[in-house]
Symmetry: C2
Subunit: 464 residues, 2 copies
């Protein structure tokens, strides 16, 4: 075994803690060449070892053993470098390494698809398994990783219990949405949809119904896992497989629910800003100028809370005042389009807003009916630049009302257990769902959901 | 809105920090009745609010408003209790609450399936959505939640990047194992297996191949997500849906891999012991006597490392010496049965042992061939009481050798991208997989995998 390598992350950490890295004995690094240019007597390799966003500059000269090989190494090659760290306070990077020895750990042939030049996101999507080697995707996927931990820290720090709700299900939370049905070969080798479980099974579209049962045991719970939609929506915001965060809180009404949503969003903003400063600065500079302003504005003040009915009134007034919507027919009872949501959050509130108490006809069966008999205790959180980012509701805890609704839409069969939760210690409770990939889009400024997912799955796309 | 309730968790935390809870003004609690017994002048409710393993005793007398209703409340009902905390240093529980007001938040009818008496695990499995309300399952699912966070803390604390490898895949890591195929309706409404993605897709059995690509960008990565097997293995250790942890480390050989496995297992043991003391004590006393001894033994010394070849020799010697195996035919080249693994770890090593360098014929195509031409750099970690708990290997990083193997088993088509990783900066790398549910079985002493999963999925079982 070789002496243990040091990582670029550790070098930067120790440097920023004030340690004089030039006092170190020679160190060993391992990583991949981002660029290599040699001018005869002196050469420079930009080395990335995957442990941090920044590269390390490797300086070598023509006295280096194997100089001819090293100077011809191509972008993408894996190497180890042994040498002294030298401080370069007058340069952009604070230190570099002067190579005494360079070893090739994994060569890279000239047909490597990621050459120095800039590639489009479309091109890189086609090389999904290689794109984490680029700056943009290294940043996206590190933030994705860090934010996932942040989600767990947020909820478990508040005592929530994480529940792995099932991926395979016989139910379908929304009562709508196309699903993937599971098949296994029967005795003759023919695909059957009932052979394995004895009934039809599909991939879940939401863990909410299942996690509600756990809220009736643990009070505060959340799921965080993949969900699936077999929808052929070819938009920048839809994927067939994505991760959802679904908290559920007992003894809690819609107000408590909104308090939690707001705290959660603000936590996530602060978390990625603090934990991924290099990556976030990159997004702010290169991907979505103005990102920091947008995110800082979220932190500044409490989110507005506005009745759906008031929202409709404001939109109708805007039309009268001459504002042009693509869908100008605004009337109470309609589902708002993205342009309407964005008008409210961007032009009216100029910040995040909860729209609450929607007409019951356009919302799911499990949402709690308000006393007006027309609306349910649902809320959508709308944010500038994105529109809806979270949907939540207080759940219907009254057995008879819920039963009537389920009978009306015909989904009571198979969901008797869900109804039973209202019979045996069922208290008021609320919850919400955040699409993790969309949250990531919002926090990074990445505008296509396919560019936030390691291997995106959409209709007709299953390359890897 | 009511005054905010305090939780039982918070009461215990503040009490154990030395705070005098009897000095508090009256507090509000919300929770569910575990038991309620009334002797006329005085009554006792054992209240659980889901926030901690312990219950709180609620004492009420016949002066209580609505005493008649309260004294008849049944197990399972949701209530709020307002009253003073009273210290009871001479009792088993350190404090109780003297109710000044009890409100019914959600009644519970007499047909509630979880009555006071003890239920079998089989019975409770059939009521999966209710069982987190029992002591055993409250403990299991809290440890599951806490351990999941622990896994993330362990890996991210070491700089690993968490990768959401895809659940829907066109590949199949092991080249074996029955899979669930995905179907969607075609234009005529008939289920089709190619209509959606344009090719056949199935649920993943492992994220390893996909995560290897990310190790070539981030150095140290891991997946942690659901995986699926459409196997009709009706054993206590098999489920159709389970969560896997799959770390992958670049610039690392099998030794490094084993170091990481050992560190990870020891971390997990320490983590649950420290973070869930009440739950772990319950398992040790009620579920698996001797659990603490078993777990403490794991922490004590370095794990043994033993060649597969040596293991075979030891087993053959044991047979000669008269040890009775159900499968007594031991020969080099065979796959060890559970009884053999357990003999090695329980009788020979008397502790955890890594068995390394297995015959290549019985291991997966991606494992690195050793110089002997007969074995691969694979290892299984065997632990007393369980047998194999982790499987890992150094991966084949040599293009030509890997290509030949993939051609031989006919899985090169569709996996060219995986092979390409060896062409473009592919360095030595290693990884392993831990079944999260099995790890949980090991740490809690729960002997059936169905009792570690919130809603277990096995063949013919899809009730919820």
């Amino acid at each position: 075994m070789q002496p243990k390598a040091i990582t670029i992350r550790e070098l930067y950490a120790r440097h920023s803690q004030g340690e004089d890295l030039s006092a170190l004995p020679p160190v060993l690094l391992e990583g991949w060449i981002r660029t290599n240019r040699d001018s005869g007597s002196i050469g420079f390799i930009s080395l990335n070892d995957g442990t941090c966003f920044k590269n390390l500059q490797v300086v070598y000269n023509d006295k280096l053993e194997g100089h001819d090989v090293v100077s011809h190494l191509l972008t993408g090659a894996a190497i180890s470098v042994y040498g002294k760290i030298v401080l370069t306070p007058e340069m952009k990077q604070p230190f570099e390494i002067h190579a005494e020895k360079v070893e090739v750990l994994g060569d890279c042939s000239a047909d490597y698809p990621l050459q120095k030049k800039r590639h489009t996101f479309e091109y890189l999507r086609d090389e999904a398994y290689l794109r984490p080697r680029t700056n943009t995707f290294a940043a996206v996927f590190r933030v994705r990783s860090v934010l996932a931990l942040g989600i767990h820290e947020f909820f478990q720090g508040k005592g929530f219990v994480y529940v792995h709700t099932p991926e395979i299900t016989g139910n379908d939370a929304e009562g709508a949405g196309q699903v993937f049905t599971l098949m296994t070969p029967d005795a003759e080798g023919k695909l059957s949809d009932t052979e394995f479980f004895g009934r039809r099974a599909s991939m879940t579209v939401s863990g909410q119904l299942h996690v509600e049962a756990f809220a009736m045991a643990f009070r505060d719970v959340y799921t965080f896992g993949p969900t699936f939609r077999a929808e052929k929506s070819n938009t920048t915001r839809h994927a067939s497989e994505f991760w959802m965060i679904e908290p559920e809180i007992a003894f809690a009404d819609l107000e408590d629910d909104m308090d939690l949503m707001e705290e959660c969003i603000k936590f996530c903003v602060r978390y990625v800003m603090e934990k991924c400063p290099d990556e976030m600065a990159f997004f702010n500079e290169r991907i979505a100028p103005g990102l920091f302003d947008k995110l800082n504005a979220v932190l500044e003040k409490p989110f507005r809370r506005m009745e759906y009915t008031e929202g409709i009134q404001i939109l109708q007034d805007a039309v009268k005042a001459g504002h042009k919507f693509e869908n100008p027919k605004i009337e109470w009872g309609m589902d708002l389009q993205s342009e309407h949501e964005r008008y409210l959050t961007e032009e009216v509130v100029k910040g995040p807003v909860f729209l609450i108490n929607y007409p019951k006809e356009i919302k799911a069966f499990y949402m709690r009916e308000n006393d007006d008999g027309k609306t349910v205790a649902a809320c959508d959180c709308l944010v500038p630049g994105e529109g809806e980012i979270i949907g939540g509701s207080q759940r219907e805890e009254r057995y008879e009302i819920l039963e009537k609704k389920m009978e009306a839409i015909g989904n009571k069969e198979g969901l008797e257990w869900y109804l039973n939760l209202r019979k045996w210690g069922g208290c008021i409770h609320s919850g919400f769902g955040i699409g993790f990939d969309r949250l990531l889009m919002y926090l990074t400024g990445i505008s296509n959901i396919r560019d936030t997912e390691p291997y995106p799955r959409t209709s007709s796309q299953l390359k890897y």
